[in-house]
């Protein structure tokens, strides 16, 4: 080693050929050591980790695409079912409305017929009652007239004459 008396370097120590074998030997040892460590341990490990991550990412992406497709299918199915249900509901509503209309018409006709029958019967009865009443008036008039005549002039009280007079008055 080129040093002066007090141990300081003289010139460039790098150019002292005596130390080159030492440096070269230890350099080769270091490089081989590092190469072995890297190629045996670090690189396979890193390669595996990176490959696994790549796989995991592409798997996840595939899974996401699959789920998305399924979700889209489910949505389409739901839309279809909804449309069908709506159509069905409309059809049922229409049918029910027609049925109710039919029944209503039927009931109306029946009710009309009953009302007409009842009206006819009532009219007949009213006619009867009126005739009855008229007949009763006739009778009451004769009896009343006879009673009045008997009170006023007992001698003149004659059934047939009073009847005739009342009939004359009622018809007049």
């Amino acid at each position: 080693m080129e040093t002066d008396a007090s141990g300081y370097a003289v010139g460039m120590p790098q150019l002292d050929a005596a130390i080159w074998p030492n440096l070269i030997f230890w350099l080769i040892v270091s490089i081989v050591l590092l190469y072995l460590i890297l190629s045996r341990v670090a690189l396979p490990r890193l390669g595996t980790v990176l490959a696994e991550r790549q796989d995991a990412i592409s798997n996840d992406l595939e899974m996401a695409a699959l789920l998305r497709r399924r979700a889209e299918e489910a949505e389409a199915a739901y839309e279809r079912a909804l449309a069908e249900a709506r159509e069905e509901a409309m059809r049922i509503g229409e049918a029910t409305r027609a049925e109710i209309q039919e029944e209503l018409k039927h009931l109306m006709e029946k009710a009309d017929a009953e009302i007409a029958a009842k009206t006819a019967e009532s009219e007949k009865r009213i006619g009867e009652i009126r005739e009855d009443a008229v007949r009763s008036i006739d009778e009451v008039a004769r009896e009343t007239a006879l009673a009045i005549v008997a009170q006023l002039m007992p001698k003149l009280a004659d059934q047939s004459a009073v009847d005739a007079a009342v009939s004359r008055q009622l018809e007049g």
Partner: protein, 253 residues
């Protein structure tokens, strides 16, 4: 042998910018080729730091990464993408080697910014070994993959005349053999210069009293710049390795 010199100098100036590059044995006082030195220590610390990042951080193997794992994954992805972008799919086979070089240089450069640490990448022996290793490997790959067809790298078939092609052949050949030199001297020069400049400023600081604030400010600024340089040089060394590898895999212009 090298031991720390006296701390004070009669002149007040204590500037020894090259001392930091001295190799010091960890045990004993002789440096043989196998002696563990401060360079060995800091190379191993760089390896340990790289291991900490790439192995300890990924221990969880989490699908959703922790911060440490994220850092390791980003580093992995960054270099992997660089290799594939520059050298193509066939280059991916050499990815572990390139990542090793990148991490080693990156941590050696960055850890060297710690005061009193040692910078292995400021030694030409280290960077030249790395550069020559890349050169030899890449040239071997070129001939193994393409056979004599690798020589097409030097034969510019787009050139209009034969004479021009021959001239260009020699230029390409020379520039090819210059590659390991520029590849290694770039890293060595930048690291050495940066560290030496910091040391020179530090030497001024010791002698200037209250005015030392100026060199200290300069050191802070230099260290920020050096941090940038440390990362960029690791990046440059790595991407040039990828470029050379691409030439070997796909020769011909």
């Amino acid at each position: 042998m090298a031991t720390a010199g006296p701390d004070t100098d009669p002149t007040g100036f204590n500037i020894h910018p090259m001392d930091q590059f001295l190799l010091r044995p960890l045990f004993g006082d002789q440096i043989h080729w196998y002696t563990p030195t401060n360079a060995t220590l800091w190379m191993f610390i760089a390896v340990a730091a790289a291991t900490l990042l790439m192995v300890a951080g990924t221990r969880g193997r989490a699908l959703v990464p922790s911060r440490a794992q994220s850092a390791a994954e980003v580093t992995y992805g960054f270099i992997r993408k660089m290799v594939e972008d520059v050298a193509g799919r066939e280059g991916a086979k050499y990815f572990p080697y390139i990542l090793t070089i990148f991490l080693f240089i990156l941590f050696a450069n960055v850890l060297a910014l710690i005061p009193t640490s040692f910078s292995p990448t400021s030694h030409i022996a280290v960077t030249a070994t790395l550069g020559i290793a890349v050169f030899v490997t890449v040239t071997t790959i070129g001939f193994v993959k393409n056979g004599p067809g690798f020589l097409k790298l030097f034969w510019v078939s787009e050139a209009p005349t034969l004479a021009l092609r021959i001239v260009l052949f020699f230029i390409e050949l020379i520039s090819y053999f210059i590659r390991p030199v520029s590849h290694s001297v770039r890293l060595f020069g930048v690291m050495t210069a940066g560290h030496a400049v910091v040391k020179v400023f530090a030497g001024f600081a010791g002698a200037l009293g209250i005015a030392a604030i100026l060199p200290i400010t300069a050191i802070v600024a230099m260290l920020a710049l050096e941090l940038l340089v440390a990362v960029i040089q690791a990046y440059v060394f790595t991407i040039l390795t990828c470029v050379y590898l691409n030439d070997a895999l796909h020769p011909g212009h």
